[in-house]
Assembly symmetry: C2
């Protein structure tokens, strides 16, 4: 049996990312019954390995067919309730979208928005936290639209100091397994992510890690008014797969679970430790950013943030040189079989492009 | 480049089903950008071919990462509203589950439930329809828990005659591309299905076809209170991919879309026409059922229904002989590398097993 990818353009967008051959091969696994003795331990091990990717022995991982977007709905419905006050730190498109999703479910949202390329500072965050009792704060670790990296550790410490009852929710779609995170040690209550970024898988899985306080929030309330997105249905399914005695709610996406299993094995048990993986991302990122600077190009992330570890190590947002735009650069790279991402941020999308450099 | 599946047990459960080599190979496609010129037409063609599988030139297909279960939520939220009266024809577990999902969203459900192995008759259905103005009726074409096949054409005709404003909603998860259906000609307003049954793909895609009256129901109301499941967000995305100018809401599950594309090509353009495909399913089913009878075994579907095309052509539910149970039969088949499905119906699950015979 041989397997190798066909020749293809090198995909360097901030997700989906290039997928390793062994992961693609796992995605082509022959059909298995979702409750069979072959499949059940594979799903169980996926859950165990996911805890390691965010350093959270205490968390309940929830893996459901869906896109990353669905994580916002799950958190809005299961951890929060209509009328809850939530502070959304916004560093780009994805902070705004998270806020939209929360509002859809009747959550009272206040956004603390940084200028493009910046992030809200500790004094602003402290003042907000002191102004009102927020049920939760949300932080996008890497906003894929700007490449701004939030300082999750510092923000979470601040929250625990000023407003310890406030739940800390992290959107880690563009960062898990690329940017350092320690869910338990840093006091994070929920991390949501997806399969197609740092986890190095094809897209199609929504992944959420729920810490003890998030589970408590769910358990202390009336069951959420949703069928497919209800954690009261999914958590028993996850526990049943981990215990080896599967119960049915919806058919799990078996092939993607095989693919994620393969990818997580490399991430958590491969020759490169997670710490070394983070370091390699930092080094690769530094090379890209040094090159960008040496070409005289600017980044979307502010100079100030760049100097204080505020630029993502998983991607880079590069401003086009004066007088040039997407039409001048992206097709030329495509001719060289390299695909970059166009700008995503409203009003700015013609002013920059995005390079992904996460994963294998 | 060679690709073939490893040796594995023959999967004969009523979904997930065995997946053809070329479909698995497509599922291992190298990563592509979800808005790239390679991928966009693939997704567009998937939508066009899906219309053919249910013979519905007028329908809007919606394909979203999720399981079949999610289709119930989508219909509850987008086509219906809280307080709507809905008649659920129940021929097994999946009718009950659809009713549960509807109730979660405040829909007023009446269930017309047949005895196990039967289906509600036309007189009962007519009486119900005359007793109250129902906003919609739901019918499971094949209930995977019992193998009962509903007569969608006859029920839909009856509805259009007695209560023409009532929307006709079909759960086709276990039947699309295996059992005959003509969405437009039979006057069906919504069909929901999933990728892993008759469509011959790995699981992970929720597929809904919305007819003009369903779209009208959505458009004539306040936008549904959901973010990820809101068709007002997804329909423009679907239209944009079909038009070749993609817009972003959530990352589409690119590899599964490639796999579905390959499978749909075989179904809609392969050497076997859809009509011939239905015929082959009927013939294969007849062989299985004749063998079951010649062994002196009974089916869960009533004798009466068996005699009137009321048993599924995609699967068979077989009662264990007196004195024997799951422990006597299923492990012996597994030793011969054939996997059947255990019983699914509450109170009956130790009394029968299920053989899937849909797809390639």
């Amino acid at each position: 049996m041989t397997f190798h990818q066909e020749d293809h353009k090198l995909l360097m967008i901030p997700g989906p990312i290039e997928v390793a051959d062994d992961v693609l091969y796992a995605n082509a696994h022959a059909a298995v019954a979702h409750v069979s003795p072959q499949f059940v331990p594979v799903f169980g091990e996926v859950l165990q390995m996911l805890r390691k990717t965010v350093d959270a022995p205490s968390a309940q991982p929830i893996v459901v067919a869906g896109s990353g977007t669905m994580g916002w709905d799950m958190i809005s419905l299961n951890v929060l309730q209509p009328g809850d006050d939530v502070l959304v730190l916004t560093t780009g498109y994805f902070g705004d979208a998270f806020a939209d999703a929360l509002r859809t479910y009747g959550v009272q949202v206040e956004q603390l928005r940084a200028p493009v390329g910046g992030r809200p500072g500790p004094d602003e965050i402290r003042a907000k936290l002191e102004s009102k009792k927020f049920r939760a704060i949300t932080i996008t670790q890497v906003d894929t639209s700007t490449a701004v990296l939030s300082d999750i550790k510092a923000v979470s410490e601040l929250v625990h100091q000023v407003s310890p009852e406030t739940l800390v929710v992290v959107d880690g779609v563009c960062s898990v397994a690329s940017e350092e995170i320690h869910m338990d040690a840093w006091g994070i209550d929920v991390i949501m992510t997806a399969s197609q970024k740092g986890l190095g898988c094809p897209p199609g899985l929504c992944i959420v890690m729920a810490g003890p306080r998030a589970i408590q929030a769910l358990e202390s309330r009336k069951s959420p008014a949703t069928y497919y997105l209800n954690w009261n249905r999914w958590i028993p399914v996850m526990k049943s797969y981990e215990a080896g005695t599967p119960i049915y709610f919806g058919t799990p996406p078996t092939n993607l679970i095989y693919a994620l299993h393969q990818s997580l094995k490399t991430i958590t048990e491969g020759p490169v430790s997670l710490q070394e993986r983070y370091k390699m991302h930092r080094e690769a990122s530094k090379k890209v950013k040094d090159t960008i600077r040496s070409l005289g190009l600017k980044q979307l992330v502010s100079e100030e943030l760049q100097a204080s570890n505020g630029a993502s190590n998983s991607m880079t947002a590069v401003c086009y040189p004066d007088g040039l735009g997407a039409a001048d650069i992206l097709p030329k790279m495509a001719q060289r079989d390299i695909v970059f991402g166009a700008g995503l941020l409203k009003d700015y999308k013609d002013k920059y492009f995005r390079i992904g450099h996460m994963g294998h």
